[in-house]
């Protein structure tokens, strides 16, 4: 029962995810270098935050072609739980596992702060430990987190209950206050806030614990 943590050149939250899962929650983890293809024995996969491949071209645009992600896509298509945090969320949209795209914050600033959020878990596996309408606080740290999707597709997303995490203060100008979305079947979650930075008591909050704890059901 092991959780895979993907490392791209430029990832910088892989150790934080490792600490949250293994140090705080006692889960077994395995790092996956971006060139690896072996996901055998993994129960879930996390794409951590950072600046994969320097965020060249667009955030996540180059990462999409990493060998490990071909396997992650197959894993997700078969119902395997996949979590994309921050840059990981950007990569999931570029891969087409989640709709939309993350663009430059409306205010242009890189935002590094705690944000109030509302959870609407629906059928998202990763949020099964939160109740509908629950308000939590998670830190954000991004320059390109403004979720963008045309109104027609946005309506479909809302109708399907795929918007599972919303900002209560919308710090970056995201459409419909979107902070996190899930896929139709609920096994893939992408979110801009960092749950792994809210797992240890010393970090000022543990609202992210139940999210990462859901990795192994």
């Amino acid at each position: 029962m092991t959780i895979g943590i993907v490392i791209f050149p430029g990832s910088n939250c892989d150790r934080d995810v490792h600490w949250a899962l293994q140090g705080c929650l006692g889960r077994s983890t395995r790092f996956l270098w971006h060139e690896e293809r072996d996901l055998k024995g993994l129960e879930a996969v996390v794409l951590p935050g950072g600046f994969s491949y320097g965020d060249y071209l667009r955030c996540g645009a180059i990462a999409r072609f990493a060998p490990v992600l071909e396997e992650v896509k197959t894993f997700a298509d078969r119902g395997g739980p996949v979590l994309g945090i921050c840059n990981g969320f950007q990569i999931l949209t570029e891969m087409g596992l989640l709709p939309g795209v993350l663009t430059r914050n409306a205010g242009l600033h890189f935002l590094c702060e705690s944000t109030p959020l509302e959870v609407q878990p629906g059928r998202c596996q990763w949020l099964a430990n939160y109740h509908d309408g629950e308000q939590i606080n998670l830190p954000i740290a991004h320059g390109e987190g403004r979720y963008q999707l045309d109104s027609e597709d946005m309506k479909r997303l809302e109708d399907n209950g795929q918007v599972v995490l919303r900002y209560r203060n919308n710090p970056n100008g995201s459409v419909a206050n979107v902070a996190g979305i899930t896929n139709i079947s609920g096994n893939v979650l992408g979110l801009m806030p960092h749950p792994e930075r809210a797992c240890d008591d010393v970090s000022g909050g543990i609202d992210g614990r139940r999210l990462l704890a859901a990795a192994l059901g």
Binding site: L57, A61, E94, P99, G100, T103, L108, Q148, D150, G173
Partner: protein
């Protein structure tokens, strides 16, 4: 025609210069463009009604013919250079040799 020329004619693949111009779709907010427009006003340049920031990518590629070159750059632009959710792109293609 000398035999050297025949060999040369057979092995030379046309080279194309492609310029892909990527722009944000009109419905997408461009905060960097807005900030630049505000700075332009402070510089004293007035009358700017619209300023949008995009990017241009130039490449040279070998292809059997123009249609092949166009198909290759179209694939590249659709799948890698631009994200169709927020961006449009246009192509200028010219043969170099």
């Amino acid at each position: 025609m000398a035999w050297q020329d025949l060999t040369k004619a057979r092995t030379t693949v046309p080279l194309y210069n492609a310029r892909v111009q990527i722009s944000l779709r009109p419905s997408v907010l461009d905060p960097a463009g807005e900030a630049t427009r505000a700075a332009a006003t402070r510089l004293g340049v007035t009358g700017i009604k619209r300023l949008r920031i995009g990017k241009a990518i130039e490449l040279e590629l070998e292809a059997a013919d123009r249609a092949t070159a166009e198909a290759q750059v179209t694939l590249l632009s659709d799948r890698l250079l631009a994200n169709p959710v927020i961006e449009d792109w246009s192509l200028e293609l010219a043969e170099l040799n």
